[in-house]
Amino acid sequence: MKWDKIAQSEEFKHLVKIKARFMTIAIIFSTVYYFALPLSVGYLKPFMIQKVSGSINIAYWFALSQFFVAWIIAGVYARVANRSFDPIADKIRRENAGGLER
């Protein structure tokens, strides 16, 4: 069994395609959401310091939301990886378990 043969197989191509699609979306979304924080506290300060609950302002809630958004993205990734990526990877691993050149 050759590595390039696996790399050319439909199964493997499908795996990297769905992975790439998910990873691109997740990385772009988290990058935009994260850098929106320093940019908005820097350039939109008058808006960000408006109080929404007691003395707590938008800037604080936005910063706190970063933690929850990061957790949600991580959770979604784990779910998609467990359900969609792993079964294909497992199958490719099983089919090629013997006869690998090291």
Binding site: K2, W3, D4, I6, A7, F12, L15, V16, K19, M23, A26, I27, S30, Y34, F35, L37, P38, L39, V41, G42, Y43, K45, M48, I49, K51, S53, G54, S55, I56, N57, A59, Y60, A63, L64, Q66, F67, A70, W71, I73, A74, G75, Y77, A78, A81, N82, D86, A89, I92, R93, N96, L100, R102
Partner: protein, 508 residues
């Protein structure tokens, strides 16, 4: 002298030495020494990553930053958690699937091993040295403040401890030291957070109303620490990308059996690290409210004593039994924190030198297991001795910028090369070497001519060079690839790495 504090320090030292003794019986092969025999479970590794990552800078430093500057201190915490998205989605699983002990293993699959291993070992050693020096100086100052042991004595003691952990305990011992530390740190943070918020009946709004009532609304507004938004973006880039390039974090993924366990460990680490950093903000704001900025600055100008002082104040204040007990407990937690981080760094530095440089460059991979483990342990001792020497030389220096520098180098030198190696077929040795060298030189160089080192005479306007040095690292890796051709390496090597990284086929 603080006898209660010394007692607790001794308890921590005793427990960690028992772990080290137990682990020393499982340290014969290189896989055992560098990767704990790949026997660590996902959850255990999640705790160990948290223990490896949450340094004294993040516990004491962030609490202090928030206590003195309010909102802006929060910025570090956010970046340090969001960074794990990059680790989780782009780096952890491919690394686990295709490497053995170090980041260079992954590069060496498809690129010429000798130049890429040499370059990767160099950047790893630079990052570990800067980061370790920051930890050592912080530790010396901290122990002096907490226990009254002289600075030099504290540094030598910590150096000896880390040499013992690493040479006898290897990765297994280091992992358990980190797990216990993470548990202690979480317990300490939860305990103090409940106490602080309990005073406000767990009502976030009344907590912040009380703070702004005492310190003014501006305390909860951005701009006290960072005037320049570009500086914040640059810092954010280095934190978010740098974490995924930190050698002591990357190394942790080789200790688990599968990529799935690596994924589980990042999820656990994110849960622990994120909740810890959220709690740190309550400790910081709480310290500002209960202790007060002037009282914190009176003990340490940088604010590093905010969390321990908060514990002392909540427990009943200076001189009271409760106050002294809590101060000693939180100080002991901080001490355990430092030990766990420096042990992880020592191991990462040893693997870069012994595995990448000595075995695979100097000996061209021809060294038996016994020799490899012996060299790795000796390197651990040398790294420890160097850390002690540098720590003593740096006494009284302001080394806070070294943490930012380590993240800048990791994000500029390591990340472009790791990502291109995993995802770009055309990438070659010329690109890897160019990327590492340019990323390394530009981040260190810009830092040296920036305001954190040169003050007002700075030639480069930003204290965090990431926004310039990270793109430079990527560009150098790109153009280095485009302008060089490589005959010896076959393009099907990329297929091999790509299949391995994505499926775990043939993973060790």
């Amino acid at each position: 002298m603080n006898f209660l504090g010394i007692g607790m320090f001794i308890v921590i030292v005793a427990i960690t030495l028992m772990i080290t003794y137990w682990a020393s019986h499982h340290n014969k092969t290189t896989t055992e020494f560098y990767a704990a025999g790949r026997s660590i479970s996902g959850i255990q590794n999640g705790f160990a990553i948290a223990g490896d990552y949450m340094s004294a800078a993040s516990f004491l430093g962030i609490a202090g930053l928030i206590a003195l500057n309010g909102y802006d201190g929060f910025m570090y915490s956010v970046g340090w958690l969001v960074a794990y998205i990059v680790v989780l989605i782009l780096v952890a699983e491919p690394m686990r699937n295709s490497g053995r002990y170090t980041m260079a293993d992954v590069l060496a699959y498809r690129l010429s091993p000798i130049p890429v291993r040499t370059a990767a070992a160099a950047s790893t050693l630079v990052i570990s040295t800067f980061y370790m020096l920051a930890q050592m100086v912080g530790a010396g100052t901290l122990i002096k403040m907490l226990l009254g042991i002289p600075y030099e004595g504290s540094i030598i003691f910590i150096g000896i401890m880390m040499i013992l952990y690493v040479t006898f305990g290897g990765m297994l011992g280091t992992t358990w030291v980190q797990i216990i530390k993470a548990g202690l740190l979480m317990f300490g943070a939860i305990f103090l957070t409940f106490w602080v918020l309990g005073k406000f009946h767990f009502n976030l709004v009344s907590f912040f109303d009380a703070i702004t009532g005492k310190l003014g609304q501006s305390f909860l507004e951005p701009g006290k620490l960072y005037k320049n938004p570009i500086e914040l973006v640059s810092l954010g880039m280095a934190l978010v990308l740098g974490t995924a390039g930190m050698p002591h974090i990357l190394m942790r993924f080789y200790t688990v059996p599968t990529a799935k366990a690596a994924r589980t460990s990042v999820l656990w680490a994110m849960g622990l690290i994120g909740s810890f950093y959220i709690m740190t903000t309550f400790l910081g704001f709480g310290a500002a409210y209960f202790v007060g900025g002037d009282a914190i600055k009176a003990v340490d100008k940088g604010g590093n004593m905010a969390a321990p002082l908060l514990a002392q104040t909540l427990g009943g204040g200076k001189g009271s039994l409760g106050g002294e007990f809590l101060l000693a407990f939180i100080s002991a937690v901080a001490f355990a924190t430092i030990l766990a981080v420096v042990a992880g760094l020592t191991l990462a530095a040893s693997s870069a030198f012994a595995h990448d440089f000595y075995v695979n460059v100097l000996k061209k991979g021809k060294a038996d297991e016994v020799t490899q483990v012996r060299v790795a342990k000796r390197t651990g001792v040398v790294v420890g001795v160097i850390a002690i020497a540098l720590g003593i030389l740096a006494k009284g220096q302001n080394v806070a910028y070294l943490v930012a520098l380590a993240f800048a180098v990791a994000s500029s030198a390591n990340i472009p090369v790791i990502l291109f190696a995993i995802f770009w077929k055309r990438f070659n040795t010329g690109g890897a070497v160019a990327g590492i060298i340019v990323g390394l030189v530009s981040s260190v160089g810009l830092m040296m001519i920036g305001p954190q080192v040169m003050g007002k005479a700075a030639l480069f306007p930003l204290g965090n060079p990431g926004i310039v040095s990270i793109p430079l690292g990527f560009l150098a890796a790109y153009f280095g690839t485009i302008f060089t051709t490589e005959k010896t390496v076959h393009s099907d090597k990329f297929d091999e790495l790509y299949v391995r990284a994505n499926t775990g086929l043939g993973a060790e």
